[in-house]
């Protein structure tokens, strides 16, 4: 079940052991085992309701906001069991999240990006200026908004807002970036721009990309996992998977668009 080529020289960023997620008694995800390596884009594909979003949610312990959600198994982030982190806020700062629909906070563009550093105790305007510019540049948004940093983030177009969300996630200085179907509300041109951004980001951080678009996974992911009905059917090198060497016929069927 685990991908064939585990290269030992690449450090493990995230390790998931026997992870199961339940909503009440209803299982959403069962017995997931996988590892995500440092500086890779790890794709997760699968039809709706296969547990992809629930998976992302537990990685930064957001399950605690959903009373019915229960998690079993172990998640090691940088070698440390996340359930044993004393300060979940510190954990969440290390993990940036981008949602399917862009959430521009009802603040100015500047404040959208500077909020997280400010919460972390950075007070000096000059320091914040540097962070804001850097993050907006990395999210390929700086040139479009540099003259109106004080206007509302929520007035930007959908594609710009999604890049603003990415800039905001980057402002946390995360080690891991979780993207949940980021291109759902974004036009194709912007999607391509964001994809280029992700390829660049990969050099510095680790990315988990949940996507409905099989071709997007193909373009971006180094390795891809296929989730189906709460189970992880297969994990493999993306190129191998798409060249027809799948271990499971269901994966092959999904990739060819025969269901899902």
């Amino acid at each position: 079940m685990v991908g064939a080529t585990e290269s030992p020289n690449q450090a493990t960023k995230l390790e998931v052991r026997d992870l199961s997620i339940y909503y009440g008694d209803q299982p959403a995800l069962q017995n997931i085992n996988l590892t995500v390596r440092e500086h890779e884009i790890f794709g997760i594909i699968g039809p709706a309701n296969s547990g992809k979003t629930s998976f992302l949610r537990v990685l930064n312990r957001m399950e605690m906001f959903v009373p019915s959600m229960k998690v079993k198994g172990q998640i090691l982030f940088g070698g440390r069991d996340i359930s044993k982190w004393r300060n979940v806020y510190a954990l969440r700062r290390l993990i940036g999240v981008v949602f399917p629909l862009p959430v521009g906070l009802p603040l100015s563009i500047y404040d959208n990006v500077s909020l997280s550093p400010r919460l972390a105790g950075i007070r000096k305007r000059a320091d914040l200026d540097i962070i804001v510019e850097k993050c907006l540049r990395r999210a390929a948004l700086w040139d479009e908004v540099k003259d109106r940093l004080n206007s509302l983030g929520s007035l930007l177009s959908g594609g710009q807002q999604q890049r603003l969300t990415i800039a905001r996630a980057l402002s946390q200085n995360p080690q891991l970036l979780l993207l949940d179907e980021f291109s759902i509300a974004v036009d194709p041109v912007t999607t391509m721009r964001i994809e280029d951004v992700l390829k660049e980001l990969k050099k510095e951080i680790t990315i988990i990309l949940v996507t409905n678009l099989v071709q997007q996974a193909r373009r971006l992911a180094d390795r891809t996992a296929f989730f189906l009905s709460g189970r992880c059917v297969e994990i493999g090198e993306t190129e191998q998977m798409f060249s027809g060497k799948t271990e499971d016929p269901q994966t092959q069927a999904y990739l060819e668009g025969r269901f899902g």
Binding site: N60, P67, Y89, V97, F99, L105, L107
Partner: protein, 289 residues
């Protein structure tokens, strides 16, 4: 070619009638408001002057102005607000942002709804027992305002909670994902975006507080006092009680006087409401999503 069937025509007729019915009901609703205001302005208007507002009542309250009552009402409202707003907003923040949906929360919610349903005269008696006698504040502004505060707390809590819950959950999730604590999320995102709703609720509460009579009758409002209150432990006159007194308790009051007092009281309330509405419009213009 499309031709309307029997059913289409019938539906259209019903649609027109239903709309007419609702329109009539709406007009019906407006009539009493206009009548009340019209009568008050017609009967009470001529007596109102700056003098009326700024002089003491004279001749056994059959003449003169309403100054002590006006000042007293302002005292009562402000002290009541100082108590009920911090408590109410804090409670609403807890219920909306922190509390989990368990039996305790449900019991608290039920208690709030019931508190809102308690008749004001019962609040008055509670106020006498608790604040006047037990805490020993005597009949005073403090006792009366605390009684008013207890009575209006549910309104503050409910309106504040509604304002808080109007802030989309996605904003909170985004903040939490960033590593913000609940308080940081409240301070930076939830409160700034719900403050208009909260203030609207508070101002509406002011107008209600200003008009209440029963809760202050036994706890701090005086029949007649020729001087202004100096501290919160003094008694005071109040507009609402003064209206009650000049309408029913004192012989020989000129016919227009109660109308004038009522007009001033209503003017205070309407002014408050207008401020609230204007404020709401202003802040809605700045709405950020």
């Amino acid at each position: 070619m499309f031709t309307a069937t029997e059913l289409n025509i019938r539906n259209q007729k019903i649609e027109r009638r239903v709309k007419l019915l609702f329109l009539l009901m709406t007009i019906l609703l407006v009539i009493p408001v206009i009548l009340i205001l019209g009568v008050l302005v017609y009967e009470g208007g001529p007596l109102i002057s700056v003098d009326f507002l700024l002089t003491d009542p004279k001749d056994g309250m059959t003449a003169g102005g309403i100054f002590p009552a006006l000042v007293g009402t302002i005292w009562l409202v402000i002290v009541a607000l100082l108590v009920s707003v911090p408590i109410g907003v804090a409670a609403a923040l807890y219920l909306s942002e922190y509390a989990r949906d368990n039996w305790l929360t449900r019991v608290i919610n039920l208690a709030i709804i019931n508190l809102a349903g308690v008749p004001s005269i019962v609040h008055a008696l509670f106020g006498v027992g608790a604040f006047v006698l037990f805490f020993g504040f005597g009949t005073s502004i403090l006792a009366a305002s605390l009684t008013l505060a207890v009575m209006t707390l549910p309104v503050v809590i409910v309106s504040t909670r509604e304002a808080l819950q109007a802030v989309p959950q996605a904003f909170r999730e985004a903040c939490w994902n960033m590593g913000a604590t609940r308080w940081q999320t409240i301070r930076h995102v939830v409160l700034p975006n719900s403050v208009s709703g909260i203030l609207t609720g508070v101002i509406l509460e002011v107008s209600r507080t200003a008009g209440e009579t029963a809760p202050i009758m036994f706890t701090g409002a005086a029949f007649f006092l020729p001087f202004l209150p100096q501290t919160v432990l003094d008694q005071t006159m109040a507009m609402s009680l003064h209206l009650f007194v000049v309408s029913t308790q004192v012989p020989g009051v000129p016919e227009q006087l109660p109308f004038s007092v009522a007009l001033v009281l209503i003017a205070i309330v309407l002014t408050m409401n207008s401020i609230s509405i204007a404020f709401r419009i202003y802040l809605r213009g700045k709405k950020k999503w």
